[in-house]
């Protein structure tokens, strides 16, 4: 009897385990990938597909913890300039090439010696890549750089086969079409503008993975149709449905809608070099005048939470600052002190770039009206807007308010603070992303220190200090942190949603 029970149990386990296997997942996306060469793509869709075909030395889990991937473990020298990676053995690229230290060196040398679209992630940071032995690779940095491991978890750091680089490296456009990595899925077919098909890698190194036989990324530009594809059973997963249709999807009992935090902070930048926005009292007043909870509920339909720092709650390095509570009386008083009671400002905003961006700008206009500030909202098409903000011509630096969003794709705060608040990046220098033209020497020093600091506790102290200072100086009106919304079929399990705005389905399986 006992034996029979054991036998039954074993059979049950085997069956239920086997049941996890099989099925092709259909992911419906808004546009085609630009390139499947990780170091040469800059759009979310290319990056998502790269994350299923390629792997890096390290990778993020769902909470943005750094996990070993192609490296089993690593060591950092005490001065923070030498990173030694002990590589996983017996891993092969899809074309049969061996993954080893030479492959790591080949890839990073290729990225650094060519001006690819992600070369900037490593240029000026990695001095040299060394092969210590067959399965030990070393990066020597120009100077200590504390977020380095996060850079290696970025999609731009996913490693392509050395063989494919030898064959097609001279033509990044062609290399971007073949996609040879070590990941759980391999590129099977890419029908331009139509779909990208991946199949299971039968020799994948993670025991028992992947469960799916394949993934098809179908391209449907219209978001309402993507929603209908899901409802009609023609698709299994979609990312960021339009907020107005989220309730429809939630009502559908064949589907699951998950709402997870994103690292993206939506803000209204203020040109701190232009009067009267050069007066900190005016900038603080504008912050006090905004009812962020109302913006989140009424405009964003609860797909956002109020922001109180330039970093989102889930960005590595975030420390709560308290932010600016909604206090129109205080706002009026501050404006009075600054002698700016009849203020007129212009707010530039993209339309359709972020969920309900223009609608949020209009709501802000209404709230500022309450404290006697007249705002002229100017919606602009994205490319026009970008070239207006990042123009190198000093005559164009006279804008006042501008609505933008930022999500650090490396998951950590340095990627927010350095480009957006360090005076290195004020036009026409550096990345030119410091559009508020904000400059505070103490903040500059702290950001620089954060880049070098290796001690975790000291790092967090610096982070806390710098966020407090930036919030006080208020170069932005801090609005809200966005959410990622993912809708998928109920039978689908283990869908990962990274706060860096990625849906990862490499571990997913169908519960049949």
């Amino acid at each position: 009897m006992k034996r029979l029970l054991v036998l039954l149990l074993v059979t049950f386990v085997v069956i239920s385990f086997a049941a996890k296997y099989g099925g092709t997942l259909r992911f419906v996306m808004g546009s085609d990938a630009a390139s499947l060469l990780p170091a040469n793509q800059t759009d979310n869709i290319s990056a998502t597909i790269c994350r299923h075909v390629f792997e890096g030395l390290v990778e993020f889990d769902e909470k943005l913890n750094l996990m070993p991937a192609l490296a089993e473990r690593w060591e950092v020298s005490s001065d923070g300039t030498v990173y030694t990676f002990y590589l996983r053995k017996g891993v092969k690229f899809h074309d049969g090439a061996e993954f080893n230290a030479q492959a790591v060196k080949k890839y990073y040398d290729y990225v650094l010696n060519n001006s690819l679209r992600r070369t900037g992630l490593f240029k000026g940071i990695i001095k040299e890549t060394r092969v210590v032995d067959e399965y030990t690779a070393q990066f020597v940095l120009e100077k200590p750089f504390s977020p380095f491991l996060y850079r290696l978890a970025h999609e731009g750091a996913l490693i392509a086969s050395p063989k494919s680089i030898d064959e097609l490296g001279a033509d990044p456009g062609k290399l971007g079409r073949v996609a040879v990595g070590t990941g759980p899925f391999m590129l099977k077919e890419w029908k331009i503008g139509e779909r990208i098909e991946l199949v299971k890698n039968p020799n994948y190194w993670r025991e028992g993975q992947p469960y799916l036989d394949g993934i098809v990324f179908n391209i449907i530009p219209e978001d309402v149709t993507r929603v209908n594809q899901l409802r009609a059973g023609d698709a299994d997963v979609m990312f960021n449905p339009p907020p107005a249709l989220v309730p429809t999807l939630q009502k559908d009992d064949r589907l699951i809608v998950r709402i997870e935090p994103s690292l993206r902070v939506i803000y209204i930048g203020m040109n701190t070099k232009k009067a009267p926005l050069n007066d900190v009292r005016v900038r603080q007043a504008l912050n006090y005048a905004i009812d962020k909870s109302k913006l989140c509920s009424a405009i964003m339909r609860n797909l956002a939470i109020p922001a109180d720092s330039p970093l989102s709650k889930y960005t590595v390095g975030y420390v709560s600052t308290g932010g600016y509570p909604y206090d129109p009386q205080k706002a009026k008083q501050l404006l009075k002190e600054a002698g700016q009671e009849n203020l007129k400002l212009e707010l530039l905003t993209p339309k359709g770039r972020y969920l309900n961006d223009y609608e949020a700008a209009i709501a802000v206009q209404g709230m500022l009206k309450e404290i006697g500030v007249t705002v002229d909202v100017k919606p602009m098409e994205w490319a026009t807007y970008l070239s207006r903000l990042s123009s190198d011509n000093p005559d164009d630096w006279n804008y006042e308010l501008f609505l933008l969003g930022w999500a650090p794709s490396t998951g950590e705060g340095h990627w927010v603070l350095y480009p957006l608040f360090h005076s290195d990046n004020i036009k026409p220098n550096g990345t030119r992303d410091n559009n508020a033209m904000y400059s505070n020497p103490v903040v500059d020093d702290l950001i620089t220190k954060i880049g070098f600091e290796l001690d975790k506790n000291k790092l967090m102290q610096d982070y806390a200090e710098v966020q407090k200072l930036i919030v006080q100086d208020a170069p932005w009106i801090f609005l809200y942190n966005m959410a990622n919304v993912v809708a998928f079929r109920k039978e689908l399990k283990d869908v990962w949603i990274l706060p860096t705005e990625f849906v990862i389905i490499k571990y997913a399986w169908f519960d049949k």
Binding site: R117, I192, G193, T225, S409
Partner: protein, 294 residues
Amino acid sequence: MIPVILGVSIISFSIMHMIPGDPARIIAGEGATKQDIEAIRSKYGLDRPLIEQYFRFMKGILTNDLRSIKTERPILKEISPRFLNTVQLAVVSIFISSIIGISLGIASAVRRNTWLDSFAMFFSLIGVSMPIFWLGILLIIIFSVFLGWLPSGGKGGVEHIILPAVTLGLATSAIIARMTRASMLEVLNQDYVRTAKAFGLAKRKVVYKYVLRNALIPIITVIGLQFGYLLGGAVLTESVFGWPGLGRYVVDSIFNRDYIAVQVGIMIIAMSFVLVNLLVDIFYALIDPRLRRG
């Protein structure tokens, strides 16, 4: 043909370069340094004087040496599959709309002022005035979401083309029906038709052999024009159904400021329009013997 293409190339080039925006800035992505952006600009010659850029572009066309700025792939490899998709959709939908449009037009002209006529004209009024975008979504909701008969979008087997072709075809068929009716009515009032009737010829024979044949020229013109438009890519239909055609690609490329893709796309659209018009002229000669002699 050549002056048309030259003209189109100059106009599309100037318009693309007149609108603000910088492809390099968009491609470089967030956190790109000035150097990254400059590198992309110089790679595509975007830092050169406009005249030089234009001549480089024309040279690239002649030597087939142009690449999409966004994907860095040869531009014809990007455009030709999409153009073929557009041709497919255009052919099927012009076929559907000609059949529906011509039959409705004939029926309502022959039975003028009957319920059939009113119905046909009401149908075509709806067809002309219904936003194609809305019609497409409606058809998806009915035939894919509720009935589950047809796929809701994308490209695949034959079943994938039905909804987009019908959506496009309905609007076009309405235009063709109206033109057929008007043109038929005009011919129906001609003396030779009355004479034919007076001779006691069968009504069917009069309608098809004498009336329709003589009414055909304006109908062919409309069909040709509509077909030309469809070859330019039906942006809205392509978007709603995720049909990977040329129209949507050109629009996306405008947003990405992929100058090369837009310019080459527009030139192909213009060429196909010219070609269709040529075909229509040949058709005229086939159906109207007088034109052959001239």
